[in-house]
Amino acid sequence: MSQTDQEAILDHGDAAPGDEPAGRHEVVEGVLGYLVGLFLAAFITAVAFFIAGTNLVWGPSIPLALVVLAIAQIGVHLVFFIHITTGPDNANNVLALAFGVLIVMLILVGSLWIMTTLSQNMAPMGM
């Protein structure tokens, strides 16, 4: 059994959300991780602000592109800042996150679905 495995077992095979995976407590390595996250997030943000005001791409595609970019950036934040990984030490954190995402999607999609359908079925208000 390697030294890293021993450290992981001392933490009982789990990692707290926000903590680096076991055996990765080097300062330089940690700072590099945050730098990569900062760079990626800044890049995606710049693309989003550029796309929002450009005529270069087909207009109706812009909202979808912005939503995709936002989801990508949230993924970058989760991985590089909150250190959510796919490793076995993060299984509990990922499951809690998955449940949160499920509820968020139910609230968002459900509200928008019901309310747009409702508006379509309402008589015009005569504005």
């Binding site: 959300p17 700072v31 909202p63 954190n93 809690a96």
Partner: protein, 224 residues
């Protein structure tokens, strides 16, 4: 070797045992299971706070749904296109992103007990967080001054509720930040203080994640 010592030696390898009962081994004393399979307090506290943050995100999702439903209901008043200044929003976004980065640096500094990294990171986080808050309050005051306050239309009610709620979170985060600086200064890098620093870091990073959704849904989609 007493039974207790044998248990302490084996305890760590009992991961995945769930209830702590090992079939096959059979000779381990019960005390080792509680010793070996309970997660450390850092993981329990961090996980509990993670669940709180997810419930906070669920609360924000309700505000987002409200905003999305009401964003077109301007009641003849100004729309997002008339009100939003994307340059300001870009500066706010940069402030919050950089503060998220420096908060990460401070977290590393706390774990490595490097005073310069911790205090420097926290100071930078405070400066950029306060900068964000200043621009946001300035924007709100300007909107209210030109008659576009929260009572003007359903759109503006939803806007001020959603963005204001995030602003309140940032304000509380700044107060918490100062508390953590004071606690580390007064009590040192004790494990319980470090757990609070971990939770503060999670809180601050989550605020940035919510801001990503706000600048996309409210400002970029609203101004486009």
């Amino acid at each position: 070797m007493t039974a207790f010592e044998a248990g302490a030696g084996y305890g760590g390898q009992n991961r995945g045992g769930g209830a702590g009962i090992t079939f096959g081994g059979g000779s381990e004393p019960l005390v080792s299971h509680a010793d070996g399979t309970l997660a450390s307090r850092r993981i329990i506290v961090g996980y509990g706070f993670w669940i709180f943050l997810l419930s906070d995100i669920v609360m924000f999702s309700a505000f987002f749904a409200t905003y999305a439903v009401l964003s077109g209901e301007t009641a003849g008043g100004p729309s997002g296109k008339d009100l939003f200044n994307l340059t300001n929003v870009a500066i706010e976004t940069a402030c919050l992103l950089i503060s998220s980065f420096t908060c990460g640096i401070a977290t590393i500094g706390a774990r490595a007990r490097q005073a310069l990294m911790y205090y420097g990171g926290m100071a930078a986080t405070f400066v950029f967080g306060a900068g964000f808050l200043f621009i946001e309050i300035h924007e709100f005051v300007g909107m209210i001054a030109q008659g576009a306050g929260p009572s003007r239309s359903a759109f503006l009610s939803a806007f001020f509720t959603l963005v204001g709620c995030h602003g309140v979170h940032v304000t509380l985060g700044l107060l918490w930040l100062l508390t953590m600086v004071a606690q580390v200064f007064a009590k040192g890098y004790r494990p319980d203080i470090l757990r609070r620093v971990l939770c503060f870091g999670l809180f601050w990073h989550t605020l940035d994640i919510i801001w990503v959704a706000i600048f996309t849904v409210v400002y970029l989609l609203g101004a486009g």
